[in-house]
Symmetry: C2
């Protein structure tokens, strides 16, 4: 098979147009270079409620459509979808600045289409020349947008590689706080499930739509970046709106009761979004993403008596109420209560951490089982914060967490999440202004 991929016949190099990389044929359908995208954008579009485009917003999840362009990238405060396909990429050797620019442009172009329920280009899966491979791999034909969001991130190694240094001329623009995370107690990290120059978080209510996104974005990256590792997840373990019920993690407990919600604008400004006075300026409106693959020893956990499980978490298993009383949403009381000093709920609570909070967006995962017949399962933890120090502080605080006996951190990564792109532009454009 020597048929070229659609990406390999690009004029990568001038970076003059976001629509240029993937396919000139794409121009026929949606001219991004000129900003001719018929989308009504509010200031917070794509943030909390989603904007329905070109079809009625049905009650059905499948009909949900979220805007790709906007002040912030979608997929952060967007109501958490049911499925995740997360992918980490490394740039290919001997790629240059223009390769990186064209990749980010092509990715934004494709993401702006597939998040609207379209194919990756105007010719799509079957509309092009029958003597060429289709632009779109086709497995999402006929499926609605399904609430798809695509969130792009830039890893520390993109700015400065251990071997190749400042490959892309962006080292001076690196946020000082974007550093590989320090080692934590309980880490047993697999490099093959950690780190990466770039990341894509694809969330959707249909896993086929999320998988289609990562597959096609990976294909578009051909010759420029290569999939390093990827992870499927399901059954969101945190909520981001009050309308969502608090889901349960694989320990059987409600998780994310105290998460930062999309309508808590003060908390978002203070804890999640990089501010206008923060450095570097190109990150304003962005955030920092930490991913941790946390293996749960679920067979061991399942043999722990109920009272001990509840002591470890600090909450009732059924109701989710703190052991100090009340219901799920009652604030826990730590002084003189039944909540253990080393319970998860206490150690992670803002009251114990100078008011630090993070926006959690994790998913459960099951990767089959090991040779002992134990499920290879756990939590794929994702958190967004204004400064990675928030995560680091919380994670260090959890070093005495009673839960530590039942989990192992096996994967880790950190990425700068640029602000959202304006129509006609692309995510990361601020780096190359």
């Amino acid at each position: 098979m020597d048929t070229p991929s659609p990406a390999s016949d690009d004029d990568a190099g001038d970076g003059s147009s976001a629509s240029q990389g993937l396919s000139r044929r794409g121009l026929l359908g949606l001219a991004l270079g000129g900003g001719v995208v018929g989308l009504a954008l509010g200031g917070g579009a794509g943030v909390a409620g989603g904007v329905a485009l070109g079809r009625a917003q049905a009650a059905d999840d499948a009909a949900k459509v979220y805007e790709f362009f906007g002040e912030h990238q979608a997929g952060i405060t967007t109501p958490v979808q049911e499925h995740l396909h997360f992918a980490s990429f490394d740039m290919m050797p001997r790629t240059d600045r223009e390769d990186l620019i064209s990749l980010l442009q092509d990715w934004s172009y494709a993401a702006s289409r597939i998040t609207q329920g379209l194919e990756v280009s105007a010719t799509g899966a079957v509309g092009g020349d029958a003597d060429e491979p289709p632009d779109d791999t086709g497995e999402a034909q006929g499926l609605p947008a399904s609430g798809l969001t695509i969130t792009f991130g830039l890893g520390p190694s993109l700015f400065e590689d251990d071997e190749e240094g400042d490959r892309y001329g962006i080292a001076a623009l690196r946020p000082e706080i974007l550093q590989r995370l320090p080692a934590f107690l309980g880490d047993d990290l697999d490099p093959a499930q950690s780190h990466g120059d770039l990341c894509i978080q694809a969330c959707a209510d249909d896993p086929q739509v999320a998988v289609h996104a990562v597959r096609n974005l990976s294909r578009i990256a051909f010759g420029r970046a290569k999939l390093r590792w990827s992870q499927l997840g399901f059954g969101k373990t945190s909520r981001t709106t009050t309308a969502q019920a608090t889901p349960r993690n694989l320990f059987g407990f409600k998780d994310g009761t105290a998460n930062i919600l999309a309508d808590d604008e003060d908390a978002l400004a203070a804890q999640v979004w990089v501010g206008g006075s923060d450095e570097p300026a190109w990150m304003a409106g962005g955030s920092y993403l930490v991913a941790r693959k946390i293996a749960m020893l679920i067979e061991t956990w399942d043999r722990v008596r109920l009272s001990e499980q509840e002591t470890i978490i600090g909450r009732e298993k059924g109701s989710g109420a703190p052991l100090s009383g009340g219901d799920e949403f009652t604030e826990p009381v730590f002084t003189g209560s039944d909540i253990d000093a080393n319970s998860h709920v206490r150690l992670a609570h803002p009251e114990q951490n100078d008011g630090i909070r993070i926006l959690r967006r994790g998913f459960n995962y099951v990767d089959g089982n090991n040779e002992l017949g134990r499920l290879a399962a756990g939590l794929f933890f994702l958190s967004y914060q204004r400064d990675p120090a928030q995560f680091i502080t919380l994670q260090r605080q959890l070093s005495t967490d009673l839960m530590s006996e039942y989990i192992t951190h096996v994967g880790s990564g950190i990425w700068a999440i640029p602000p959202g792109a304006a129509p006609g532009s692309y995510v990361g454009a601020g780096l190359f202004a």
Copy 2:
């Protein structure tokens, strides 16, 4: 942690009651031994439409409830759900006939509850003694039944083990046609993803519900059987009712257009259900399940030009119509048409195979990616047939399939699927009558 699992304190040994294995506490909630299960059962209950129990059958998938008991096991002609967790088990060394009986009883008891949206026992996740581990692992608390079906199967090695022989006194009852599948061209089978004494097919519209089922059934098996391998799948690749749209596989083509549907009673009787005059008698109303994990070389496929992809499949990629013309549901014409003699649609067609058909129930899978950055993805093929020879004939016919270049069979298994259990009984009871 030396807390015993709920299964380890059973009186395994007399097999007198289906409710005995898991937990005496379970008796408080649902007395199976006496058949006191308040379910209205029609003759074909659980087969085609599902029976709503205890709640209104909403349009929402989440509200779907399928009967566990019935003439046939559920999960075969049941409208294919969105998610799969398939699990293969091996019996533990030095287990005896009573261990096997009690395991099948306990599994049926738990399955009869969780398929109705209940917890695995009456005490469930939080209702028991706080000084013991809960019976139910709890992550499905608050979730509806989500169309869950549990289908149990018995592998050739259960009847007669290579080393231990007739461990359970059932070798004489083994169906002669239940044999490990022969080697096929293109096989590259991984023993760690193949075979097994027992299998569980858990299908649901919520992956958390399917995972909860396998996790808890695996836990119930503690000391008697051990998870050998397991597979998650999504995005059903076949339909089993006319109401379902034909889904697409990861090659981007509609798949299962010509599948046997749940309302085609003649085809089900002729091709899927073991008949009353077939041997052995205990299998009447049952079926045989073949599972094949088929890795797809999707990056290679994605570089094949559209016209060649359509030649390989024998259908149009967009519409699903055969290349001989018409629409998706037009019968293909092979003589003098544009359909290649070695196209997939022709080789697999009943016309080329003495009228042989199978009921397909496969799912897409993605297991991350390999070190080359290629997605480890494909089709987890499941088919039900009255006789394994049906699958063998079709698979041999496919040896010249043009598609072979783009797939590798990496896992394989075959299981006898006993008929459904009557209320108060359990799946497999016919073996021990």
